[in-house]
């Protein structure tokens, strides 16, 4: 059994830890409010992801620097306040993406400062070096935004056949449910299942492909070690 392909695949997964392996939205189920409700359309997801970049990444970086000097009960109050302070400039930044964004997602924009992804990341980066903290935060942010954009696109297409407001598919019957919370839940359920299916398929194919690779590569592998 030749596992070079499997090892290569696992190395790729470790490299992109937040995006493919432990995707915050699909495998850990964090940041539920930010994933389900604002992702009714691309505009909402864009606003939330920009705001997340502005206030989530610096807070996690700060918590990485401070480390565990703060006791837990204080940590839970200080870091949300910090990310809330960062939220105010983010609000003006998002203003010029689209002015009417705040009445549609309203509450959820201000929930960015308290969501469970922030809590998870703060606890995770306690004793890491600053560079590792920054890459961890960026990877988490990138993983969350990729999935949120994907869902936003699908739901907007399903609900009113448009992308970022420009109508593309005119004649298909509309499915208004896709924009509701239940559409988000079910879409996330199937996306998570799809990711797990892809992961299992890749593993099984690489195992099968690995077994009929020429044996010489394993000797060279042993020799090389």
């Amino acid at each position: 059994m030749n596992l070079t392909l499997v090892r290569k695949y696992n190395k790729l997964l470790r490299k992109t830890d937040g995006i493919l392996l432990h995707n915050p939205l699909l495998t850990l189920g964090l940041a539920l409010p930010l994933a389900i409700i604002p992702s009714y359309g691309l505009i909402g997801t864009a606003a939330v992801s920009v705001a997340m970049l502005v206030c989530f990444v610096p807070t996690v970086f700060l918590s990485g620097l401070i480390g565990n000097r703060l006791p837990l009960w204080l940590r839970v109050v200080v870091y949300p306040v910090v990310s809330c302070l960062l939220l105010i400039p983010a609000r003006y930044l998002v203003q010029n993406i689209s002015p009417l964004i705040f009445d549609t997602i309203g509450v959820y924009f201000s929930l960015i400062c308290v969501n469970s992804l922030l809590m998870y990341s703060i606890e995770k980066v306690q004793n890491k070096k600053p560079v590792a903290v920054l890459t961890f935060a960026l990877r988490q942010w990138l993983g969350a935004c990729l999935i949120a954009f994907l869902c936003g696109a699908i739901r907007e297409l399903l609900a009113n056949g448009s992308l970022w407001g420009f109508v593309i598919l005119k004649d298909l019957p509309r499915l208004p449910v896709a924009q509701m919370a239940l559409g988000g839940f079910i879409l996330f359920g199937f996306l998570a299942a799809l990711c797990r299916l892809i992961h299992r398929l890749i593993l099984s194919f690489s195992l099968k492909a690995g077994s009929n690779l020429p044996q010489s590569s394993t000797e060279r592998g042993e020799a090389g070690k």
Binding site: L175, P176, V177, A193
Partner: protein
């Protein structure tokens, strides 16, 4: 000579799971005859389409997930028939298709197939269709007219009696119309007499529990008697509430689905009673007329809780009876 797959009881009860499923189908088919009598052949196309679509979808999912198809497993047929029963006769085919796909692909297949689903697939499919195309779902037609296959303007669209009930009025329907279902309504759920006969058949075949349907109808009757519209005597308001719409059909077929109801008797009575209360709560607060389906879905989520409550309660009752009276 003797294969090792045989285990302890070497004789089995003649009735098999096939008969349990065919009981439900037998109890549903007479409603098709009545609706064919009222609305013509379009109804049979809708019913056949939804039943076969559900069955094909279920088998496809079984093949995809488990690599084997059990051709005798007809539970998806029952789901398909129930979905087509609660649709209006003038429904388009894509609405029925969407309800069936949602029922099987989302409510049944991911949970693990026939015996493992937590929610009643028919109820979930109908709730989805009501939420998406609520306007299409409540357009009814005066019965006793042969409907053309494609619905065009020649067909007069009416509002059902439940719409007037929702607005607080009272549909002036005599008792015979109520019992025979001779008023604009869904395909199969307004013929009270036939449904009652099918209920008796199901109870006789031990596929339905009489106390479950009864404990569902009692709160409905009480609440509709309490806040009946002004100037209407309570009995008539009870009859209208229950029979002028699909509530009685839901209480017989959706409630007695063996997979999603709890297993203990006390749990079943609690389940039926709270489902009745929830239906009336939904009926007064929900913008849709067909609100019993949403209540059943919510109660399906709570039925395992009733089971666990009963498991916790049982030993206490046993010890109480041992200390109290003589036990058996």
């Amino acid at each position: 000579m003797n294969s090792l797959r045989h285990h302890a009881p070497y004789i089995r009860h003649p009735e098999s799971s096939r008969t349990v499923m065919s009981d439900a189908v037998i109890a549903l088919v007479p409603l098709y005859f009545m609706s064919y009598f009222y609305y013509g052949s379009r109804v049979l196309f809708v019913g056949a389409f939804s039943a076969l679509l559900c069955l094909a979808c279920d088998w496809a999912c079984n093949y995809l997930l488990y690599r084997r198809i059990n051709f005798r497993d007809l539970s998806a047929l029952v789901t398909g028939i129930i979905i087509s029963m609660l649709m209006p006769p003038t429904i388009d085919f894509y609405v029925v298709a969407a309800a069936c796909l949602f029922a099987i692909l989302v409510t049944k297949a991911p949970f693990g197939g026939t015996g493992h689903n937590v929610f009643n697939p028919a109820a979930a499919g109908l709730a989805f269709a009501t939420l998406c195309w609520s306007s299409k779902m409540f357009q009814y037609v005066q019965p006793l007219q042969k409907l053309p296959f494609t619905i065009d303007e020649s067909v007069s669209i009416l509002q059902g009696p439940t719409a007037t009930l929702k607005l607080g009025g009272i549909p002036r329907l005599g008792l015979t119309e109520l019992l025979l279902g001779n008023f604009p309504g869904t395909i199969g759920s307004t013929y009270t007499l036939i449904i009652f006969a099918c209920l008796i058949y199901l109870i006789a075949r031990n596929a339905a529990k009489w106390y479950l349907t009864l404990s569902y109808l009692i709160p409905v009757a009480l609440l509709s008697a309490v806040n009946h519209p002004y100037g209407v005597d309570p009995l008539e308001s009870i009859a209208n509430e229950m029979f002028a719409g699909s509530l009685f059909f839901v209480s017989v077929y959706l409630l007695n689905d063996p997979v999603t109801t709890p297993k203990y008797r006390i749990a079943r009575i609690l389940y039926g009673f709270s489902a009745g209360l929830m239906t009336m709560f939904f009926r007064y607060n929900s913008p849709f007329e067909l609100s019993a389906v949403f209540a059943i879905l919510l109660m399906n989520a709570l039925s395992p809780a009733f089971d666990c409550f009963c498991e916790w309660l049982m030993p206490k009752l046993q010890t109480a009876t041992e200390k109290g009276g003589t036990n058996e």
